[in-house]
């Protein structure tokens, strides 16, 4: 299943990275309360590494800012991700990495929903179901070889 011998998508289209978020005066004002917004969630996700390529999910356009929805008041986050090809076997793993990254990076008041952009993957429903199942996610993270791959995706690249 892993792409050790042959990559499933050997030559993906690479997208330009968005620049750093621009600092505004209110960002530096002590008194202003900055709500958690779509861009902030996107900033958390964009640096996740792809399991196959030395590229980030942003560069592969797997996550996009328009597909991130957050509601700070109602404590909910929804992320849609787009596998690079419809038969990508890594889709579950990518979804899991996104979910874990959000679990580690967001306050626990948030309900996190990660699923595949509708109509972009062959086994979309099955993957969505797995990702939505809390116990399966927890069980997956007990599996140390799976956790290892997830952690590699979440490590900061050091080149």
């Amino acid at each position: 299943m892993s792409g050790g011998t042959r990559l499933e998508n050997a030559n993906p289209v690479i997208f330009q990275r968005s620049g750093e978020r621009l600092l505004t005066a209110s960002d530096e004002d002590e008194e202003v309360h900055d709500p958690i917004d779509d861009r902030e969630i996107f900033d958390i996700l964009l640096s996740i590494n792809d399991p196959e390529h030395p590229l980030s999910l942003e560069e592969l356009n797997v996550v996009e800012q328009v597909r991130v929805k957050v509601n700070d008041e109602e404590n909910s986050v929804g992320v849609e991700f787009t596998p690079t090809i419809p038969h990508c076997s890594m889709a579950t793993l990518i979804g899991l990495s996104i979910k874990v990254k959000l679990l580690r990076s967001l306050p626990d008041r948030f309900k996190i929903d990660v699923h595949i952009t509708p109509g972009t993957h062959a086994s979309e429903e099955a993957v969505n179901k797995q990702l939505a199942d809390k116990e399966r996610v927890a069980a997956a993270l007990e599996n140390s070889s799976l956790l290892e791959v997830v952690n590699q995706c979440l490590s900061t690249r050091s080149i």
Partner: protein, 1031 residues
């Protein structure tokens, strides 16, 4: 004599049989002092040298070699001859004797009286009787050193040996493994190549024996005492491999092979070696490998994984192309440059025209790299690619595509620029002049801002190539620039436009004088419509932005004296009308006008003409306007001129100080003496619009608390404190005493601070001597008197004067500075001035913007901060320990002020000693102290000293406490430190993982986004710790 020989015999005996190595030294001293001769030594050694025990013989030879090592300079030619014969013979002896024999021979090679022919015979027997690689490390190094010594002194003799020498060397170094010896061996090989020894049929052998180390893979062991680095080895080997075209047929295939490697450093080394070697090659050396090299280079740039490799690949391509362009062609050979470029174009050109432009950047870079190599290459490449690029630009509709194409064209123009040297050759881009110009102008008229920005830099590049922009084009360009300047709101665009205008004005000043400056002037002086109407605020706002852009454009274009002559009157007029109120300018706009003047003073060439412009027109005008405003402010309290505002005056100071420090010292001196006479004697004769009262006394205490005149002392400071040290300030004593008086008595903050700074600036430049010492002492006495009486109203003033004088003396290492800084230390305990004293240390350690810096020609010694720190850190720690609890924060603040300003390297070495104090500072309630301590700690945490690891518990708990600080900057800094902690050795920090993760959950929901993003990063790193696949 008899006693001497007995002594010698006993020395020999003790060395040979008694195995006392120190006796060799004594014997050598004896020989050097003339107590014994070498002959006597050999006679005394007789028995040991002929002993039947090899070890005794070895000891004997060793003694002789060690003595020779010390005294090879005293030997006569006859002695050397005999000794060489002896040593050559001993090479055939038992193997234990070989090491001392080699040492002896090495000593003899350093002798200046080496008889002719001996070098050759020495080497012959060496190569014949010794197998170098079976010797120990030190002996091998001995052999290499012999070769190096002989190559220095006996070059012709060694060349007489012919190819035998090269062969002998190849055999000796074959299989060498020690990096120290390799460095020597590479040096010999380089000498063989560069000094023209006959390689004969051994070229390939010499190449083989050295190239087997390529690419160098060497990591020095930790705590390496020899300090050999990988880079040294790489450089040494590269000098050998790239040294001669004779190696070309072997080296180029090797490079192609190594470029296939997966190891990044091997690729990089190969590319750099390629760049180095082709500079010596000719086209026929390269001919058969061109295709292979091109394939590898193309692959490296197209599929690059790191920027260094990409740029090395591009550099190699440039070197390769320029090598081909350099070659002289025979009538029958093909033109290898055009064949090669055909290859390049065939592979790259079509990428420039593909619809998705996916590989346009790497292809463009490769073509540009080839383009920079030579004029011919530029011609060939631009002729091939430009037409299609230009055509595509006009046919594409998407902005991002057009921008990409524009950028690519821009790079081509820039790459052509660097390769253009000779005047008479035909300009490369001349054929495309018209289409390029129309491309730029059409891009400038687009609405897309990034297209506009690229177009401005393209305009600059076109202008820098002679003959591409005609007069009419320049006018059109100025039209476009003016339009963008006045209409365009985007900051990035106006920044680019201003920059472009500056570059163009340098080349075409007349056009800017006649076109741009008058337009900007009318635009600035146009009143915003319908004043006083509140709904027009947005329009006023945009009018302000237009003025702002006009002011910065005026500064940017003024780099030629002729432009300065036209632009500065406009700026002065802005100040004048702001003062008179004829056109209303806000304070901010007036400040910007001053900034523009300052920028002009900084960038303009230092000529007589510009000097006069500034010293005879601008500075008197500024002083006159400030004086008028001050006098007017005193008379009527109603409407104040903006020129009495502190912000405006502070902006005028750098105009004056920059022109006094940089432009025409003679004229600056004149300006200074005028200013001094204005301030001391009220001499207003040099000011324009002279209608001033005759009894002006700017430095005397004025009635009431009007400060509009006294604050003008800052202008005096700008003038007299920035003069070059060769220029004398007139009436210095009177000036100093009045300044001291003013700084101690005046109650207006800007006035007394400026007076103190001015005093300090003058003291810093006074020549050393008794008069200076007595001046300082009397000032010190006065200051201390004020400071010691706690009820004195002028304590703050005295303190200000003290700290500035202390800084002035500290910078020049004046011995009296200690007295003042000690006083400062004692003030840390003061009830009122304690916090001020703590802040004062930051003033001592930072460069001040307007006085006492190198730009003002102040006397600043290097590393005064380190010196101050090392002299005083102990005092600070001691003071901290004895201070009462409520005063301790002052000490911590002072410490963090000092440490913060030290260079990072010094900080890292000094911090372990201060660690406990810094940890204390983290729990100090003052946020400033916390912040500066955290910023000191952060770099140290990247490479933590052992002392820190011992204190980990204290550090972690203090840092975790700070992440709930009310100040967001403290929260951010402490989160950064916590993130840095995650890089510590895993076994040390793993016990803290759960606690840190729990504590970091809270800042994830911080109200500030900047804090949250730091927390996200830090928590992510800590999660990876000790987890599979993490760290």
């Amino acid at each position: 004599m008899a006693a001497d020989s007995a002594l010698l015999l006993s020395l020999v005996e003790e060395f040979v049989s008694g195995l006392q190595d120190s006796k060799a030294k004594d014997t050598a001293t004896g020989v050097k002092d003339g107590q014994f001769t070498i002959l006597q030594l050999v006679e005394a050694l007789g028995l040991s040298l002929t002993s039947s025990q090899p070890h005794t013989r070895a000891r004997g030879v060793q003694l002789l070699s060690e003595v020779l090592h010390e005294c090879y300079g005293n030997l006569t030619e006859a002695e050397v001859e005999v000794l060489i014969a002896f040593y050559e013979n001993r090479l055939k002896d038992h193997y234990v004797i070989t090491p001392p024999v080699l040492q002896g021979l090495r000593a003899l090679t350093k002798s200046t009286v080496l008889p002719p022919g001996s070098a050759v015979s020495m080497l012959r027997s060496l190569f014949q009787d010794v197998h170098v690689q079976s010797l120990m490390l030190a002996e091998r190094s001995c052999v290499y050193n012999m070769l190096i010594n002989l190559m220095e002194t006996r070059e012709t003799e060694l060349k007489g040996l012919g190819t035998d020498f090269v062969f002998g060397f190849v055999q000796s170094m074959d299989g060498e493994r020690d990096p120290r010896n390799l460095l020597l061996a590479f040096q010999i090989a380089k000498n063989i190549i560069s000094r023209g020894y006959d390689l004969g049929k051994f070229a390939e052998e010499l190449f083989e024996v050295t190239s087997c180390y390529f690419p160098i893979d060497f990591t020095p062991p930790p705590n390496d005492p020899h300090g050999i680095t990988k880079e040294e080895l790489i450089e040494a080997l590269r000098a050998v491999l790239a040294g001669t075209p004779k190696f070309a047929e072997f080296l180029l295939p090797l490079i192609i092979e190594k470029l296939d490697s997966d190891v990044q450093s091997a690729k990089l080394d190969s590319l750099q070696t390629l760049t180095a070697c082709v500079s010596r090659y000719e086209h026929k050396d390269l001919a058969e490998f061109l295709e292979g090299l091109w394939t590898s280079l193309r692959r490296e740039v197209f599929q690059t994984s790191s920027e260094r490799i990409e740029s090395a690949g591009l550099a190699a391509l440039t070197a390769l192309t320029s090598c081909l362009s350099r070659s002289v062609l025979n009538s029958d050979s093909e033109d290898s440059l055009s064949t090669f470029l055909d290859l390049v174009l065939k592979d790259c050109k079509h990428h420039l025209c593909e619809p998705d432009l996916k590989l346009v950047w790497p292809s463009g870079k490769l073509l540009q790299a080839a383009c920079t190599a030579s004029n011919r290459a530029s011609h060939i490449i631009t002729a091939a690619v430009m037409p299609s690029l230009i055509e595509q630009y006009s046919s594409r509709t998407q902005c991002s595509h057009r921008r990409t194409l524009l950028e690519v064209v821009l790079r081509f123009i820039q790459s052509v620029k660097t390769s253009q040297s000779s005047e008479n050759e035909e300009r490369v881009l001349l054929a495309f002049r018209e289409s390029l110009c129309s491309m730029v102008f059409s891009a400038l008229s687009e609405t897309n801002s990034s297209l506009q920005i690229t177009a401005t830099s393209m305009l600059t590049s076109l202008a820098q190539q002679t003959g591409l922009l005609l007069g009419s084009d320049v006018e059109l360009a100025i039209d476009h620039l003016t339009r963008l300047l006045l209409m365009e709101e985007d900051d990035r665009v106006s920044l680019a436009v201003v920059e472009c205008a500056g570059a163009l004005a340098e080349l075409h000043p007349e056009a800017f004088i006649t076109e741009l400056i008058p337009r900007l002037k009318t635009e600035m002086f146009a009143e915003p419509m319908d004043q006083g109407d509140s709904r027009e605020t947005s329009e006023q706002h945009s009018h302000h932005a237009v003025r702002q852009r006009c002011l910065s454009a005026l500064a940017a274009v003024s780099n030629q004296p002729s432009v300065v002559r036209e632009s500065t009157p406009v700026l002065l007029e802005v100040l004048t009308s702001a003062h008179t109120g004829s056109v209303s300018f806000s304070v901010e706009e007036v400040v910007l006008a001053c900034r523009s003047l300052q920028r002009i003073a900084e960038q303009v060439q230092d000529t007589e003409e510009t000097g006069q412009c500034f010293h005879d027109i601008i500075i008197p005008r500024l002083l006159s306007l400030a004086l008028q405003a001050a006098l007017q402010g005193e008379g009527s309290s109603g409407c104040r001129s903006p020129l009495v505002e502190e912000a405006v005056l502070s902006a005028m100071v750098p105009v004056i100080s920059t022109s006094c420090s940089r432009l025409q010292p003679m004229l600056a001196g004149q300006t200074a003496s005028r200013a001094v006479s204005l301030f001391l004697d009220g001499d207003v004769s040099f000011l324009p619009d002279n209608s001033f009262p005759s009894h002006i006394q700017l430095l005397k205490k004025q009635q009431g608390d009007t400060w509009s005149q006294s604050q003008m002392v800052c202008l005096l400071m700008g003038c007299v404190c920035s003069l070059p040290r060769s220029v004398e300030v007139p009436q210095i004593d009177q000036l100093l005493s009045q300044l001291e008086e003013m700084s101690c008595t005046c109650s207006h903050s800007l006035s007394y601070t400026s007076a103190a700074k001015c005093f300090a600036g003058l003291v810093n430049k006074q020549s050393q001597g008794d008069s200076l010492d007595s001046l300082i002492q009397s000032t010190m006495k006065r200051v201390c008197r004020e400071l010691d009486s706690t009820s004195s109203p002028a304590r703050t003033q005295a303190f200000t004067l003290m700290i500035w004088v202390a800084k002035a003396l500290l910078l020049r290492y004046h011995p009296l500075s200690t007295a003042l800084t000690d006083k400062l230390f004692s003030l840390l305990d003061d009830a009122d001035l304690g916090p001020m004293a703590a802040d004062g240390f930051s003033l001592l350690m930072t460069d001040s913007a307007d006085v006492l810096n190198r730009g003002c020609h102040a006397d600043v010694r290097i590393m005064y901060r380190q010196r101050f720190f090392s002299e005083n850190s102990a005092k600070l720690v001691q003071g901290f320990n004895v201070a009462p609890q409520e005063k301790k924060p002052n000490y911590l603040k002072a410490l963090s002020n000092i440490v913060n300003k030290l260079p990072k390297q010094v900080q890292i070495t000094e911090l372990p000693a201060l660690l406990s104090l810094l940890l204390e500072a983290l729990s100090c309630p003052d946020q400033g102290v916390q912040l500066s301590t955290l910023s000191c700690l952060e770099p140290v945490l990247i490479d933590p000293p052992p002392a820190l690891i011992q204190q980990l518990e204290a550090l972690v708990s203090r840092l975790l406490a700070l992440i709930s600080s009310p100040a967001m900057s403290v929260r951010i800094a402490s989160l950064r430190c916590i993130q840095a902690l995650s890089r510590f050795p895993v076994h040390e920090i793993l016990p803290f993982r759960a606690r840190v993760l729990r504590a970091l959950a809270r800042p994830l929901d911080d109200k500030k986004r900047l804090v949250r993003s730091e927390a996200v990063q830090a928590r992510g790193e800590w999660f990876l710790l000790g987890s599979p696949g993490g760290r």
